[in-house]
Symmetry: C2
Subunit: 318 residues, 2 copies
């Protein structure tokens, strides 16, 4: 049980926002969060929801909307001390999420985000701002949803990271796994789109930008100097079914001096070669442990909400 | 930097104890542990070492010994607030480690152990004692050394565990991997013994007792009711090279109602089927994440010391 009262403002009430509301409500008692409330929600479609009732998910599913409100004004006028940024991804300018996060941090509010835009493109500026204001800027959900990834290092105090390597994009791994049966890239992509694993415009995934944003975020967290624009990116459009059959995976890699995303043929002994479908995986090499691995879902409504809940507990429990 | 001064008493100065002394000394500054010291060491062979100098590892390597001291007396007379139990394993009585841990906890000292004896056989009694005295009884190193295992749940607050499954014994996995090339069990065992992966008396490993002790510890940590004596145990002596080739692995499993260790044939799609050699792996199924996995070394001097250091940070940082 925490004694300090906390209020949460949610920005963006799509899949992740609704998943977080649902998960928070179900786990609140168990986690001793009786002094923590979701006090406000702002969403382009649903409007500005103050003191949402427990059945808000039903209400909006039934078409209920609330008064429109400008997001920046909502952040400025809110007495919430924690802001959850769950709006849409923009890997060119990071907007509008960047302005949301910056405004919240400037006002001394903690920020939890699952948005790779501000995390990958504006990490240093926003982290420095958070440190200056004495608040946290947390983003577990940007890399492998709730599946342990860079936060494995919380379990290895003192360990120094030599390199990080992983399969961090489920869409491309699904397509490559599907191509192992002899399908061409274009056929496998179309199937992935029909199943909802790939978007209508699949660029972010298949051209490697999504994986690149994730390895950039990890690199920032480790204190390395790489920026998103430094990542050498090669997507999977040119991978052949033969190469897929030989366990060619879209590998994101970084060490202190190198950072890239590229399709790489993995030897059979490499445990990452067995990672199939939408599953994500990370390998972290440290001085004390050698290589350790974590694997699991890299997306999903409740899986991403778990990441935000993990970040919330870091803030609330100090 | 921690402000509270802490003193550590190490019981048992073999591989793990020496590894911990070495790792602690190297990582102390980085972890802000300037107020934490290893103030005493007691070992059957090297004696009672008070205020060990930084070059103690060299001194004992050169044959230096110290006055003999009864371990229980050393615990009782010590002003250390943290006791590290690194003595030998006994899966029948848990002694002498059980008496060491009990004595330390009764005196209100935190206990870190890598010893599966007291952790598997006396978990409830010792945990209740620790709770009563307001101290911690931590044992990360008993399951997969420093590789994240049950402590993955520290990264998933609110998640409820449905089941745990894993390859938790490196010796048997090494033997089974070696048998995939057509070697009989007895040949593979002999090679593992020559390489130092298996002991002269291989019972604890090949008959499944080591894996059983680990799944029991996990089950205890999850609050399930299984005792070590409840585990249905089947070892690998009867596995044939053909079965090994078909990815038969020694699987430890538990859910709320079942607990067992047995050789199990894994389908190719099962990511655990690709875990080879001495590598360990765990699968945890929760309500929020579905199945997640961690893999890495399950033994080793520094790898086990990392586990004890992880536990130490839990105590020191609260």
């Amino acid at each position: 049980m925490t004694s300090k009262k906390s209020k949460i403002l949610i920005l963006g009430f799509g899949t992740v926002g609704q998943g977080f509301f649902d998960l928070f409500s179900r786990k609140r008692d168990m986690l001793g969060l009786n002094n923590v409330t979701i006090s406000e929600i702002v969403d382009m479609k649903f409007g500005h929801i103050v003191d949402p009732k427990p059945d808000i998910l039903k209400e909006i599913a039934n078409g209920k909307t609330f008064p429109q409100k400008d997001v920046i004004s909502a952040i400025k006028e809110s007495d919430a001390d924690i802001v959850c940024e769950f709006t849409w991804l923009n890997l060119k300018t990071a907007e509008p999420a960047y302005s949301h996060v910056k405004t919240a941090l400037e006002l001394g509010k903690h920020v939890i985000t699952t948005n790779k835009g501000p995390s990958a493109l504006k990490f240093k500026e926003l982290t420095e701002l958070a440190n200056k204001r004495g608040v946290k800027f947390l983003m577990k959900g940007t890399v492998m949803a709730g599946t342990p990834s860079f936060n494995l290092l919380d379990l290895l105090p003192g360990a120094e990271v030599k390199s990080v390597r992983g399969i961090m994009n489920g869409t491309t791994n699904y397509i490559l796994t599907s191509m192992e049966q002899g399908k061409d890239f274009s056929v496998a992509l179309k199937e992935a789109q029909e199943l909802g694993y790939a978007e209508a415009d699949p660029t972010n995934d298949v051209d490697g930008f999504d994986a690149a944003s994730k390895i950039t975020i990890i690199s920032h967290i480790l204190g390395w100097k790489h920026e998103f624009s430094d990542v050498k990116i090669e997507g999977i459009r040119k991978v052949t079914p033969e190469q897929a059959k030989e366990k060619t995976k879209l590998i994101a890699y970084s060490d202190k001096s190198t950072i890239y995303v590229k399709p790489s043929r993995l030897p059979k002994e490499d445990i990452l070669s067995g990672v199939s479908g939408v599953m994500n995986a990370i390998e972290i090499e440290t001085d004390t442990m050698g290589k350790i691995y974590a694997m699991g879902p890299g997306a999903g409504k409740i899986q991403t909400a778990q990441a935000a809940l993990t970040d919330l507990m870091k803030i609330v429990k100090g």
